[in-house]
Symmetry: C2
Subunit: 238 residues, 2 copies
């Protein structure tokens, strides 16, 4: 074999490794999406079996995080990536941290569902969460889609929807506070609903983080701690 | 200049860069520690000026995170680190993410302090938090100390103290729930105290994460999602 074909071979393998990393992140994302969906069903339908399923799959998400992290470290050591390849690795390392924590939040919701199903759930309040849950599922799915398609423009649009989730959260919180003041005996159970709403709100924040990594990955600019308007004007238009 | 001295020169520079990264992480840690200390004073003493100071310094922590992250990426691209140098970089990337989020939690406590000082604080309940706050300050300080001294054995001991913080949190939550049930008008204010307690509990978790990165950094083994007993038996004794 002559030299160019060896290097073509190496480059082919290297690309396959990077593609493998990308698809593993998406597989992990898919699992976390599923966890969130199950946790919401468990909460709204007081479905104990579903709640237990969420708790039982958490270790898989954790294992995926550790494995992908390890693969990223090995690629850095072996391939010495630079420029956009290195940005991909950095974005992946950050994305899987957020995905793992989204899994933790889903687990938290599963735990609350389990607790509520034992002491008697707050049906109406949990239904309120259903709408917020649907939006949170969507932002998570869409953020992973932006990562899959390498699309920073779409990532900015998706990041924007987190503001709606924050507003929904505020509204649910106000309702729950009023409810607790009117019926103090409901406080312990209402707090479980509050923790679930809080977990959903945090998942929205983390999906927004994933969108920011996509912008970094494609545009090469770190846009964390930057307003969405600034990102649009300074990063995406250039 | 002959070859060995050029490479000695490069290696000297490289070491200086790695040392610089370490000291920047510690500087960022120091700033976050200060933010937490100020937030706790603001909460316990209803000190508005102190609360505003916490909110005003958050951007510094964010900027430090972005700058250190950038430096890590550049070192990977330029120096192509392997083995323990690469582990240091990976541990730093993760540590600063947690430090930044600890800063966010401190900011949250500052915000609650501001809100409580406007509507009338819950003196007694905030005092309860003071003890928990002292322990959380300690675990944060100690985790940074383990990082500074590269000490995995100490890191395991420090990680253990997070369990005490969790127990304190549970106890404070129980007290606050009872208090809200006895005096429902206090609910909105009690919730602000609850959010602060929750923020402190999360800071404990993140300090524990930092301890785990120290173990990874020195021992080369990823110990996240592993019980403290397992870490002791399988990683630190080997």
């Amino acid at each position: 074999m002559d030299k160019p074909s060896i290097s073509a071979h190496i480059s082919h393998q290297y690309n396959a490794e990077l593609e493998d990393i990308r698809s593993r992140v998406l597989a992990m994302g898919g699992l976390v999406e599923q966890q969130l969906a199950h946790a919401l069903i468990a909460l709204v339908d007081s479905d104990i079996a579903m709640a237990e399923r969420v708790l039982a799959t958490d270790y898989q998400v954790n294992a995926m995080e550790v494995a992908i992290d390890e693969e990223c470290t090995q690629i850095i050591a072996r391939r010495q990536p630079t420029a956009s390849d290195l940005r991909l690795i950095m974005a992946v390392i950050k994305t899987i941290t957020d995905l793992e924590r989204i899994g933790d939040e889903a687990e938290r919701i599963g735990r609350m569902a389990l607790q509520l199903s034992k002491v008697g759930t707050l049906k109406k309040q949990c239904m309120e969460l259903e709408n917020m849950g649907a939006q949170v599922k969507k932002i998570l799915h869409d953020s992973l889609d932006c990562f899959a398609r390498n699309d920073p423009q779409a990532a900015l649009q998706v990041a924007r929807t987190d503001l709606q989730i924050d507003r929904q959260y505020e509204s649910i919180m106000r309702q729950l506070i009023t409810f607790m003041m009117e019926d103090p005996r409901s406080i312990p159970r209402a707090l479980d609903v509050i923790w679930s709403a809080r977990a959903l709100e945090r998942i929205g924040d983390r999906a927004r983080n994933i969108c920011e990594y996509v912008i970094y990955l494609v545009k090469g600019k770190d846009v964390r701690h930057t307003s969405l308007e600034q990102i649009e004007q300074e990063t995406l238009r250039s």
